[in-house]
Symmetry: C2
Subunit: 344 residues, 2 copies
């Protein structure tokens, strides 16, 4: 016996297929007795509705697609957490696909989503070109999380990287630091804005002559090299890293050089990933409200369903999470005059 259909149930229960359909979906129409019979038969036969037939007939799917740029980054997991719950509650199925970093794969995944008649789609950190996204969004309500787009067809949710950078610098400033350097993220998502935010904040605080940028991408190795670059000139008292991975790279390098964090140098990261908390030394970091971003994504999509046609852009506020990698600047503490013994 293959999968039972509505007709099987109808026959067993001695009613029409239409009535079974309505009853199983909780619509009124059947009397109490009949309803019980139908439900009983369905249960006994192990009936599972055929989604294809259902979607075809009803011209709707109650499904939404989520495209993940990358599964390894804990950023995605948090966003997805925020995303799925509201949809599940509203009776939507959430199906996810991954693009594996390849635009071709991402594009084909979007085709699949469209083929399945997904009623809405969320793209988290897509690497796809803007034009493809735009074309897709013409057909399916789409929200993009974690990537800035110029398109006015999709809803966009990002955090204010510039502001986050400014908060980081301000935090260090408040601790008495003046010689604050930046370890750069190069062309990574958000890196440009974070660098800009750093420069602006330094200027605003009158620290223009202390502005120094080193490094160049989102890897730990490049970060270590960046630290060396900085030290070749002079040791900063604090470093603002473009993200947590970079910050950890710096941490390791400082340790290798015999510099103590936060006694000799303070380090602050960005993203507040699980990395930041798991390290033996807790990393002070700038947090993006990732779960919230997910929830907001769900809300925006729902609004679309309810008729909103204008695209929305939400820029969320980042916040500071203090841990033990930042402390008062050496000079502003009681003068211990502890010269770091750089062993190389």
């Amino acid at each position: 016996m293959s999968r039972p259909t509505l007709d099987d149930i109808a026959e067993h229960a001695g009613v029409s297929r239409a009535l079974v359909s309505m009853t199983l979906r909780g619509l009124p129409g059947a009397g109490d007795e009949t309803r019980r019979t139908i439900l009983g038969v369905a249960e006994r036969l192990g009936y599972v509705p055929n989604a294809a037939a259902r979607n075809l007939a009803s011209r709707s799917s109650k499904a939404i697609g989520v495209l993940l740029g990358e599964l390894h980054n804990p950023f995605f997991a948090d966003v997805v957490d925020g995303l799925t719950a509201p949809f599940e509650e509203a009776g939507f199925h959430v199906l996810m696909g991954t693009g594996l970093h390849r635009p071709r794969a991402e594009r084909s995944m979007l085709e699949t989503f469209r083929g399945y008649g997904m009623e809405g789609v969320v793209l988290i950190g897509p690497e796809l070109d803007e034009h493809s996204i735009q074309r897709f969004a013409m057909h399916v309500p789409t929200v993009v999380i974690g990537r800035t787009l110029r398109t006015d067809l999709v809803d966009v949710i990002v955090n204010d990287d510039r502001r986050g950078a400014s908060i980081a610098v301000q935090h260090l400033f408040d601790l008495g630091h003046r010689d604050i350097a930046h370890l750069d993220g190069g062309t990574g998502p958000g890196a440009v804005l974070r660098r800009r935010g750093y420069v602006d904040a330094m200027r605003r605080l009158g620290l223009e002559e202390h502005i120094r940028v080193a490094g160049g991408d989102f890897t730990a190795a490049r970060a270590a090299a960046g630290v060396d670059e900085l030290l070749a000139d002079r040791a900063p008292t604090a470093v603002f890293a473009a993200n947590d991975v970079v910050a950890v790279g710096a941490l390791e390098r400082f340790a290798g050089l015999g510099l103590s964090v936060p006694d000799d140098v303070s380090v602050i990261g960005y993203d507040n990933t699980s990395l930041a908390m798991q390290l033996r030394i807790g990393l002070t970091s700038i947090d993006q409200p990732r779960v919230l971003m997910g929830r907001l994504g769900a809300a925006l999509l729902r609004e679309r369903f309810e008729g909103r046609t204008l695209a929305a852009k939400h820029v969320l506020a980042p916040t500071l999470v203090r841990r033990s990698s930042t402390a008062a600047a050496p000079s502003s503490r009681s003068h211990k005059n502890r010269k770091p013994n750089v062993r190389n």
Copy 2:
């Protein structure tokens, strides 16, 4: 204009719907000229086949479902990497769903998969009860990765936890350690076997009187408490932790107590997660071949499609990854007699 259908294309191209269907799927039947016309019209209209209609009519879906127990654990990301590529190549769509740790949600996700007529399903670290999995597997070819099951309906892929534990103990033994304790994972997946492997290995090496087990789940906090438990008796020279999270918890606690790793005590983890490498102190760990496990999962499912009916069980070999958290036992080094100054 809504989504174009086969009929739209047929009309524009002046042929029958059947011919369009066949042509778009690459079947022979149309002449060169006609074929070009059809393809051209389809392209121009932006045709995307309706998956629901297609699946309904063809009684197949070319789709496979992947249930993720949890998105935060890097374990899953690696397995998925191994899984998706072979399927994409074979022209399958891979759609993922998450159970969010709740068996109820996992069960409903499986229903969704079945509703969509997925031709095969891969469960990665499911938390669902065995009976539900078994019931599901009666209807859809299923492979389970990372969890042992007694059922003979599903294919199972796990690593040999017992062996892995044995390798860990042997590694410590070879470094001269004798007083080797175990930080337990309680009821977590694999924990029981790892504990058993530890005990067996200790016996085999004639270290029966050194067997000590503390802790009790897969959390860092519980691990720290486990360390205290151990130290209340006497400090071991080495600790085998049930997984990397536990190992890191132990690392932190040892540091807090002023004990140096690996000078005073060696620590080895399990899973070789990204955690192990990212830590300032590289964690020696036991690696499961995760990507391979994913690839194997894909292969097993394909075999099922081709007619294999007997369930397969694959137990893969774990390997040791040495980093800097393990070193020669203090006693077997030049006698420094460095008593740890336990500050609490």
